[in-house]
Symmetry: C2
Subunit: 361 residues, 2 copies
């Protein structure tokens, strides 16, 4: 029997209980029903889609006995309210980019992306085969959260700008939508970061409330239409070389699962992880071609801006290590792993990719 | 009830049936027991380990009702006999590098790696979100195989050489162990490829039966001890920029599974896929440092050798497209996807990785 008393507790909305009652009679076994709050709009099939891939895998693996409804940002809770919702048991699960929550504790960002961090594969390796998962599980305990790696976008673009960026001076006073933690480094080199959910960026950029905006990469950015209102498209997003998405599960909901369902949640999260990165990789090339074909101007971020940001990032990390014991503990392991990864990726990976990049294909 | 008549058929060894009979009485439900033949020695916890991660996930997700025993190369069937064994139903499943089987049909290699192919993430994207899975499923039907993506090593090293390689002339007459399909291109530029299972390479290199040998990368290579008998360690392995491992399941065994178990196999294969790449990434840096610290000489493969191999590879692919309809069908889709991936990875991914590679960390 999979049904757990947790489901009937006040923390879970009445909707979930009702839904279980009206389930078709052919399903003799009791149901587990979870609600998953995504921080993303449904229109983004890539990042919102990871929640759906996860939910379908769990449902299929349990013959429909464990169903997880996936809700877009704002449907149950706001995009940036999902950690509170999981912590309080308002929902059993959430899918989000943890760096949004650096205001609670900067350590959240190390479960996602920090400026000049790891790329997608490297961050995944730290979580699965380094100390990342153990360290983040320990950190999340205080929020009643059990975390799972569930998606990555790959290295993001540096965003859309109305004016060209040529020197660090062009960053001074620049009002820019930037995801989460990276804004702290942007501020350190003179920018004015704005933390705005995906669905609200376009009107802000259109009205001129902000001068620039980054979101993800060609495929998502094209959907949100930024190319219509800003001409220059920069790369890379130095603040997110491989931002990782996280499935957050309420600790009581997790503890109430059978060992079988725990294994199914774990494997399904990994399955969604693979799917999400693959979907971005598969969809970005054609979107980039369309954007450039439509007149968007592709520009590398000037090296002096990158250098200034790199210096500011390292100063910030040293400062945080002095002030925040949670950060210090996780960062020290993370940065050692990152440095080793960069060393290793300089060899076979880089030489192979460089040779391919040099070919006319 | 999960038990399937397939289990009692002649194709499955008597051992499997006996094991099911002696299962503890506390397990009231019938068992499914599969045997998985790996093409790799148990000593390689990375690549052999992917089979174990997969098996554990399936077992945990089914509460022990579906058990898969994982057997190293030679235990049930030889390393290069696993396709025949799955096709004939001698075993229900195998874990292998499909390019070993290019002698049956070169198309196998496109499910793994061909020279100057895709890197790890790109190949995964083609399978999960491009047309790769559909095309390979169709191809494998003729072998009674249902395939799943299950592991990748990342870009491999170019192997161990007794003498330095400076020009294409140094390749002429070079007897080299090289995995699978890449040997065809090595032969085209004058080398003498040898297809030898992992466990048999060391004695061949030690005795001088071969002049050079490539296996995987620092961690695995160090275990096999090649650094003791060859001084020069080249990168990258241009014939395998992201070789993918495949779980092969006998079609009858697959069809006999419930929908729930099918979903569990799929999610567990993806879980093992993530683990395997992560394990390589996590373990290679320290192994590389040890090898270099121990006196191994790290060398980039000279550009003229890469250029000659690239030209030979393209000629080979054109030739195969004219001769092999299976190859042509899959290759045309694959190469279009690869070219788009290389274009896209030139932008944010490359610029981010390059900046990081340029830092003293």
């Amino acid at each position: 029997m999979q049904r757990r008393s947790f489901l009937t507790k006040a923390g879970v909305g009445a909707g979930a209980v009702t839904a279980a009652v009206v389930a078709p009679a052919v399903r003799a076994q009791a149901q587990i029903r979870w609600r998953l709050a995504s921080s993303f709009p449904k229109s983004l099939d890539t990042i919102f889609g990871a929640g759906e891939v996860f939910s379908k895998s769990v449902k299929d693996a349990t013959g429909g006995k464990f169903e997880i409804s996936v809700h877009q940002a704002g449907e149950l809770v706001p995009a940036f309210g999902v950690v509170d919702a999981v912590q309080n048991g308002t929902v059993e699960a959430a899918h989000t980019a943890p760096y949004y929550f650096f205001g609670k504790d900067e350590t959240f960002a190390l479960d996602c992306a920090v400026p000049f961090g790891m790329n997608s594969r490297q961050q995944t390796a730290w979580m699965f085969e380094g100390n990342g998962m153990n360290l983040m599980r320990e950190f999340y305990k205080q929020y009643n959260i059990v975390n799972f790696v569930m998606g990555n976008t790959g290295a993001q673009m540096g965003g859309w700008y109305r004016k060209e960026i040529k020197t660090v001076d062009d960053i001074k006073g620049l009002k820019m939508r930037i995801g989460g933690f990276g804004g702290k480094v942007l501020a350190a080199i003179g920018g004015v970061p704005q933390n705005i959910p995906g669905g609200d960026i376009y009107p802000a950029l259109e009205k001129g409330t902000i001068d620039a905006a980054e979101w993800v990469g060609p495929y998502d950015d094209e959907k949100l239409g930024f190319n219509k209102i800003a001409k220059f498209y920069y790369y890379p997003g130095w603040w997110e070389g491989g931002p990782q998405l996280t499935l957050m599960v309420n600790t009581k909901a997790w503890d109430a699962l059978s060992a079988e369902n725990k294994a199914i949640v774990q494997a399904s999260a990994s399955h969604a992880h693979v799917h999400m990165q693959s979907r971005y990789d598969a969809l970005n090339p054609a979107a980039l071609k369309r954007l450039v074909g439509g007149g968007s101007q592709l520009r590398p971020m000037p090296r002096p801006v990158m250098d200034a940001a790199f210096k500011a990032a390292n100063e910030l990390y040293a400062d945080l290590s002095a002030k925040n014991a949670n950060w210090k503990k996780v960062y020290e392991d993370w940065v050692k792993f990152r440095n080793d990864q960069v060393l290793w990726f300089r060899v076979a990976e880089r030489e192979f990719d460089s040779f391919m990049a040099s070919q006319k294909l």
